[in-house]
């Protein structure tokens, strides 16, 4: 990407692919079993999944390349897990197309799934079994056999720091250890494409850092990683490219720098107190390059350039409009401020 602005674009529900399908410089992987050059490990094209009248995924399109960590960022219920379900072949798309390493997941499901490693949101482990026994089962289900299976089990146990507890029943593990083992079961067969569905939910900070390091290591080894999260900090620190999703649609996509540039270096000013929404809007409107993102009786969210210098003017205008400011939070441009700018609501809602 030549500059940040080119690295991101706002996407409607019928938006184009993100990324350049002809760009083969990032990898030389071949589609499994076909010998076809495959620069795009995951291709999602106009994916739609509905349950009766409820549309869970609405025209989502994106691609992901080898060695890349592609993030799907959005609040709970945005359609991230459904998208992962369609890519993994668990759910049949209502329309659209999904390919993994060139294989259509509907028509060539088995070939597509051979390339996949999935780390589900749930801790999908058998608690009565030990870590080794879980890895043997899930590795065996992916077709690994001894001695390779044994070698891989040893390797992933060391990677995840579970080697010394490998023979204990999983039910004795802490939440963080279970998460790490859950991850290990997803990579034991060295997948070319790794789907991670909110793998750090409910994990302590130390285990989270460890998991994120593991994800980076997988990507560095050439694995294409699709990572869904509703933690913007994770997405910002981990992902090479991102698609921000809400209500089943991709509302923005691109590199982190590109997405930030869409905010024009605007700060996010969140004021709590007592407001009359319309009067507050009118009071701050004359201030230079200010935008009201959210105006409620107890909350006012503003997007503006150089907010710290304009604070006195804002306070004066609001006081004159009969508002009472009790708390102030100033945030630098971030994915969260972008999300609020695009949707008018906070990411964690």
């Amino acid at each position: 990407m030549s500059n940040a602005a080119e690295g991101a674009r706002l996407v409607g529900h019928a938006g184009p692919f993100v990324g350049n399908p002809s760009d083969s410089s990032l990898g030389r992987n071949k589609a499994a079993g076909t010998g076809v050059p495959c620069s795009q490990m995951i291709e999602v094209e106009q994916l739609r999944k509905s349950y009766g009248e409820l549309v869970a995924v609405d025209g989502v399109s994106f691609t992901a390349r080898p060695g890349e960590i592609f993030g799907l960022l959005g609040p709970n219920g945005a359609g991230k897990t459904t998208t992962i379900g369609c890519i993994s072949g668990l759910l049949a798309p209502t329309s659209g197309r999904v390919r993994v390493m060139g294989h259509d997941v509907v028509r060539e499901g088995t070939a597509a799934r051979q390339a996949l490693g999935v780390v589900p949101q749930e801790i999908a482990l058998y608690e009565e079994l030990s870590a080794i026994e879980n890895l043997k089962y899930w590795g065996g289900a992916q077709g690994l056999r001894n001695p390779l299976l044994g070698e891989r089990i040893q390797k992933v146990l060391e990677l995840t720091g579970l080697a010394d507890r490998a023979r204990e029943p999983v039910k004795r593990f802490s939440g963080g250890m279970k998460r790490r083992l859950n991850f290990a079961c997803g990579i034991v067969h060295q997948p070319r494409v790794l789907l991670l569905d909110e793998p750090t939910v409910g994990v302590d900070p130390q285990s989270r850092m460890r998991l994120l390091e593991l994800v980076r290591a997988e990507a560095q080894s050439g694995t294409c990683v699709l990572y869904t999260t509703h933690y913007m900090e994770e997405a910002e620190t981990l992902c090479d490219r991102l698609a921000v999703v809400d209500r089943g649609k991709v509302i923005a996509a691109g590199t982190l720098a590109g997405l930030r540039s869409m905010l024009e270096q605007r700060d996010l000013l969140r004021l709590s107190g007592v407001f009359r929404p319309e009067a507050a809007r009118a009071a701050v409107a004359p201030i230079d390059r200010i935008e009201v993102l959210q105006a409620e009786e107890k909350l006012l969210v503003l997007s503006l350039v150089d907010a710290s210098r304009k604070l006195p003017a804002i306070f004066a205008a609001l006081e004159a409009a009969g508002s009472e400011v009790r708390g102030t939070t100033l945030t630098q441009p971030s994915l969260e401020s972008l999300f609020i700018k695009l949707t008018g609501k906070e990411l964690r809602e």
Binding site: E122, Y126, W138, G140, A141, R145
Partner: protein, 367 residues
């Protein structure tokens, strides 16, 4: 095939490490068997006690002397005497309810007085070995005494053994097929409910994203369950055979039948469980199917002790049919052709249930 095997190993390991669930279901029929034994079969007598039925058609002093012998010690400790009419006595012998039936025809006293030839009738129960022999010998000795007093052994006993097919069963032989069937059905119900556990922890969804077939997963579960059923059946059969003295005509056939029947019932309960919308609903639905079928189908009480109408209905239920076949295999009254036909029927029903269960698993349950 390899995935089926690793699935079997996985399930057997899990069940071995959570034996409490299976033990509970195994304990219920065992407790019931003990209770039944105390109520119906035991009685606290130190020695085995038999029943001697006597049809005294002569009803004279001489005939009462014969029957009176059994009131003396130690025979009165071993036998309970009941006076019956011949027809009732035969019916009870046919049902295996007594050790022997002694018929003293009218004219016995006159024959004794005249020194004429006369013959008493003794019907014995072949499932008992000691008591019928004791009764026969006692009657013979008594008649021998009568004969010697009047100068010659002209009074004899015609001993008749009731045909084997009509023989009665001991308490253990009567209740054991029901108890073992109940244990297997209950374990099948518990194992079937486990599918919800695997669903809840996301194992099924993870598996669905892998290149293996769901049919392999289901086959692995069936094979694992089959091994559990075979183990329970083998343990139960060997225990009652060697410790309880219950004759088992063909141990391998009985084990195989119980294993196949258990698998078929497991599939049925698996399908029932997956038809529910919550784990709690699945548990309730499973119990709602299993307990009435077990109760009417001869698992709680054998058909022999049920009211006739209930036994007639019960024999038409899947559980009743399986228990009847199992009882016949155990007591040796089953014919090879009949067993082969029953196995074929069971296999066909299981194959159909497998397909329907697999469809349900793939299409909606896994999500």
């Amino acid at each position: 095939m390899r995935f089926i095997w690793i699935s079997v190993v996985k399930d057997l390991r899990r069940w071995r490490r959570d034996p409490f669930t299976l033990a509970v279901w195994l304990a219920i029929p065992l407790a019931l068997a003990v209770l039944m034994n105390v109520v119906f079969g035991g009685g606290g007598k130190p020695a085995p006690r038999g029943v001697l039925l006597i049809d005294d058609e002569d009803n004279t002093f001489a005939s009462r002397v014969v029957s009176g012998v059994f009131h003396r010690d130690p025979l009165d400790q071993m036998l309970t005497l009941e006076r019956v009419r011949r027809e009732e006595g035969r019916r009870r012998m046919d049902r295996g309810e007594a050790s022997a039936l002694l018929v003293i025809p009218a004219g016995f006293a006159q024959a004794v007085n005249r020194g004429a030839t006369f013959r008493l009738q003794l019907f014995t129960n072949p499932s008992q070995t000691i008591l019928p022999k004791v009764i026969e010998d006692t009657v013979s000795i008594t008649l021998d005494v009568f004969g010697r007093r009047r100068g010659g052994p002209a009074i004899g006993v015609k001993a008749t053994v009731i045909p084997e097919k009509k023989q009665g069963k001991s308490f253990a032989a009567l209740f054991f097929p029901s108890m073992l069937s109940m244990a297997v059905w209950m374990i099948a119900n518990a194992l079937a409910g486990e599918i919800w556990k695997e669903r809840a922890l996301g194992a099924l969804r993870r598996l669905a994203a892998m290149p293996v077939r769901m049919a392999g997963f289901l086959a692995g579960k069936l094979l694992g369950a089959a091994l559990v059923f075979a183990g329970v059946a083998a343990t139960g059969l060997v225990t009652v055979r060697w410790l309880g003295g219950v004759p088992v005509a063909s141990l391998p056939a009985a084990i195989v039948w119980m294993m196949l029947a258990g698998v078929a019932f497991y599939l049925l309960l698996l399908l029932v469980s997956m038809s529910a919308s919550t784990p709690r609903g699945a548990s309730m639905l499973g119990n709602l199917v299993m307990f009435p079928l077990a109760l009417v189908g001869g698992c709680f009480f054998p058909f022999e002790v049920m009211p006739a109408w209930m036994a007639a209905v019960g024999r038409w239920t899947p559980t009743g049919w399986a228990v009847t076949q199992f009882s016949a295999i155990v007591d040796g009254s089953a014919h090879a052709a009949g067993v082969a036909g029953a196995v074929a029927g069971l296999a066909a029903a299981s194959a159909l249930a497998f397909l329907v269960t697999l469809m349900r698993l793939r299409r909606s349950f896994v999500l």
